[in-house]
């Protein structure tokens, strides 16, 4: 077993996806729009061409908020 550990939010849940794969492929697999999320690894962000391996732990964080921004 093993794979890229992925934390999703709202609601918070975790899953594992077989690596290696690119961030864009991961988002496609999860059917997520690239405009609506950030992919966070450690304390920084990764771009959609970054390669994720089985030892990686990432957070896919939604950025859409429904309020008025204040």
């Amino acid at each position: 077993m093993g794979g890229v550990k992925v934390v999703l939010r709202n609601p918070r849940r975790e899953l594992e996806v077989a690596g290696p794969l690119r961030v864009k492929a991961l988002l496609d697999k999860l059917e997520l729009n690239r405009e609506s999320v950030l992919v966070i690894r450690g304390d920084t962000l990764v771009t959609e061409d970054a390669l994720l391996g089985d030892t990686d732990e990432i957070e896919v964080r939604p950025v859409i908020s429904g309020g008025c921004g204040a």
């Binding site: 709202n10 729009n33 405009e35 609506s36 950030l38 964080r61 908020s65 429904g66 008025c68 204040a70």
Partner: protein, 317 residues
């Protein structure tokens, strides 16, 4: 993917700009976009104090941080809405940020200071929660600014917010709202000037700004907002943006350049018909302002109950 400015490895790509940035250059990009917006729309005059409406979310905390970095004398205003754990958590993030920057945070608590919370008030007044919330924010932000001597209130409305509002207004051809959808609403006659310095940044950018600067913010969605129309409009716009990057900016910024002027006269006429609210003194188009009517409905005792002493809202100075 390499940074467009310095060719270092990038941490974020912005398809709208056909660019990617490393961390330092992305932070410069964000500050440049805000500085450009403030200058272009003459949002703040030299020496003016700015009151930033802070929710504990990514947009308002990023805005406050950027304004402070740009050298503006900016204090925060946190409005407690009484939305259970969500409000408790949001307030914590706002206070933590203020403390970390040594910045001043003014707090107003809707249940304590006015007498109702958003879930209860919306139900009593038969309004959707987001409507009661927006109305309360607009009124109380303005009152706090006027009473506190701040000529300017800055809100964290970003490009996605404005594009989604514009889409909603266009779908209904709400010409009065279209005429008021400007990055700056002028002050005077009981109003602080309202400014939206984030209109050139998308919410993916404000979230990235917070992650990359280590600003903790409330990630969870407001439980009152789940399933609202605004989120549906954003999803529709993001589907278009994914297929055609730059569409959201072209839609909203194009409206400002080429559409707004057609609707502005109607909004200007509405503003000329304002008079002081008979209850609180705030400017309104009717006898009693919408916030006082909401407060009246939300704090009215149930039939048969002994009436509670009514809190009278103070007029703005």
């Amino acid at each position: 993917m390499r940074c467009r400015r310095c060719r270092a490895p990038s941490v974020i790509e912005l398809r709208r700009h056909n660019a990617a940035f490393c961390r330092p250059c992305f932070l410069i990009h964000c500050r440049d976009q805000v500085a450009r917006t403030i200058e272009e729309h003459h949002m703040v005059e030299p020496g003016e104090r700015v009151l930033v409406a802070v929710s504990g979310g990514k947009d308002s905390l990023a805005l406050w941080d950027i304004l402070l970095d740009l050298g503006y004398p900016a204090d925060g205003l946190y409005l407690g809405l009484g939305i259970g754990d969500y409000s408790d958590e949001s307030g914590r993030y706002a206070r933590d940020y203020a403390s970390s920057r040594g910045a001043r945070l003014v707090e107003v608590d809707l249940p304590t200071d006015v007498g109702f919370d958003i879930p209860g008030g919306a139900a009593a007044a038969r309004r959707v929660p987001c409507s009661a919330c927006g109305l309360s924010k607009r009124h109380l932000f303005n009152r706090a600014a006027v009473e506190g001597g701040y000529p300017v209130v800055a809100t964290g409305h970003n490009l996605d917010d404005e594009a989604a509002v514009l889409l909603g207004n266009v779908l209904r051809w709400s010409t009065d709202y279209l005429g008021r959808q400007t990055p700056v609403l002028p002050g005077g006659d009981g109003f602080a000037r309202k400014i939206k310095p984030l209109i050139r940044l998308g919410e993916r950018e404000t979230a990235a700004y917070c992650v990359l600067t280590g600003i903790d913010y409330v990630v969870e969605e407001c439980p009152m907002a789940v399933g609202n129309k605004h989120l549906g409009y954003k999803a529709a716009l993001n589907a278009i943006e994914d297929a055609s990057p730059g569409s959201k900016a072209a839609f909203y910024l194009g409206f400002l350049q080429r559409g707004l002027a057609h609707f502005a006269p109607e909004a200007a006429a509405d503003r000329q018909s304002l008079s002081p609210c008979a209850s609180c003194g705030s400017p309104t188009t009717g006898d009693v302002c919408a916030f006082c009517r909401l407060t009246e409905a939300a704090t009215r005792p149930p039939q048969g109950a002994k009436p509670a002493p009514r809190r009278r809202t103070a007029p703005p100075r």
